[in-house]
Amino acid sequence: MEVLRALYEMTALDDLIQNPLSLLMLFISCYLLYLGIYKRFEPLLLIPIAFGVLLANIPGGGLGIIPASDTNGIMEMDVLEIAGNFGILNMLYYLLIKTGLLPPLIFLGVGAMTDFGPMLRNLRLALFGAAAQIGIFTVMIAAVATGFTLKEAAALGIIGGADGPTAIYTSIVLAPHMLGPIAIAAYSYMALVPVIIPLVVRFTTTEQELRIHMKQQDTLYPSRVQIQNLKAVKILFPIALCILSGLFVPAALPLIGMLMFGNLIKETGSDTQRLFTAASETIMNTATIFLGLTVGATMTASSFLNFQTLLIIIGGFLAFMLSVAGGILAVKIYNLFAIKKINPLIGATGLSAVPMSSRVANEIALKHDPTNHILQYAMSSNIAGVIGSAVAAGVLIAFLS
């Protein structure tokens, strides 16, 4: 009997009975795994996040992230003490997430995989990447009105930038206690871009606007300057962009600086091929694994199952919708005054979510006119959106941290 009792005490069953909410969290983690594996919603990040949730909510495993407080003194401990007292996921969290290391490393990989060519060929379209950040700020104001603090509201609003690493980075700096729900909302809505963009486009554009043929407009009103040495411009561009954004918004430099460095080693060519491979594969993949697992592990029952999480989910969705609508509206206003018209779908891609937004916009354009390939044009505002959301995050961090 004693043996059976000892066996029972070894299991997590007793803890599970005492804390039934953990069961609900395990169910949520399984649902997220289902979305990642079968529905293919951003599987590269959603699967590690969901598995992190699963690990954190098995009672007795001790893998859930413990928020830093004065009583546990976790911020005064060194790495070995944290690992010894709170487990390896807490060690990874305080070493890699709390220091803000992983999002810039992911930006390094994103930079190495980004091609500024489409943006350089259609520079004027890049401005619509700014208009699509309107959702961030609108939802920030609304969140303050519903009782969030300014820092929390800013972290929530940044979901509207549709950029996972930026949302996570802002959340780490401004509202670390909201990190889990914000990461989940950001990546879930990014995966829902093929649903959200068509929905907003349906209510904000007309058939005639969607038929605006970008190539025909280019033929009618050709650009005055042609790029003769694209390779040289592609090498100079990330350097100039880094200096420019660094001087104006230094708080955004950890993200934009790494993005531009990643891009520079890509564009330099064979001389930096090894660095490019490391940034775009080894570092990117390693960072993604640790980011997903540790962010997921912050979502314990006590920190996730509350009314605030519901507001974050709703607020994030609104921010996304408003950002898409903001980009479309900016194009419509531009078209009122310009001779060379722009398809409003270009504005809708001012969100980050590269290249999914562009692909979705291209598909919508092709539905209305099978010859209207807008992918290259959409990529311009799409890439500008990545920079725009990082700049927006930099402004919020600079003023609020």
């Binding site: 190495a112 309107i134 040495n229 954004s245 064979s270 609020l400």
Partner: protein, 88 residues
């Protein structure tokens, strides 16, 4: 609360204007770099250039292939050469 909302509105105005200014400066610097490169920089030697000139492929086809490769490889892929397959 009203003070916080006022601060949020002020911060939003600053934020959106900053994003516009930065992206405008980026487009401006891009144009300047293009003009500079057109005027002063000779095209760098193309690593993929071969001595034998490939058969002419229309610019529309090249654009379509480039766009497809960019999307499928998420910007990682590079086109080394485009060759027309011989019909057997």
């Amino acid at each position: 609360m009203p003070q916080e909302i006022y601060t949020a509105i002020e911060l939003s105005a600053i934020g959106i204007v900053t994003v516009f200014i930065i992206l405008y400066l980026i487009t401006l610097s891009g144009k300047l770099l293009i003009s500079f490169a057109n005027r002063f920089l000779y095209p760098l030697p193309d690593e993929t250039k071969t001595d034998i000139a490939p058969p002419a492929i229309s610019s529309t086809t090249v654009a379509a292939i480039t766009a497809s490769v960019e999307v499928i490889t998420q910007g990682k892929g590079r086109i080394v050469s485009i060759e027309k397959l011989k019909e057997s």
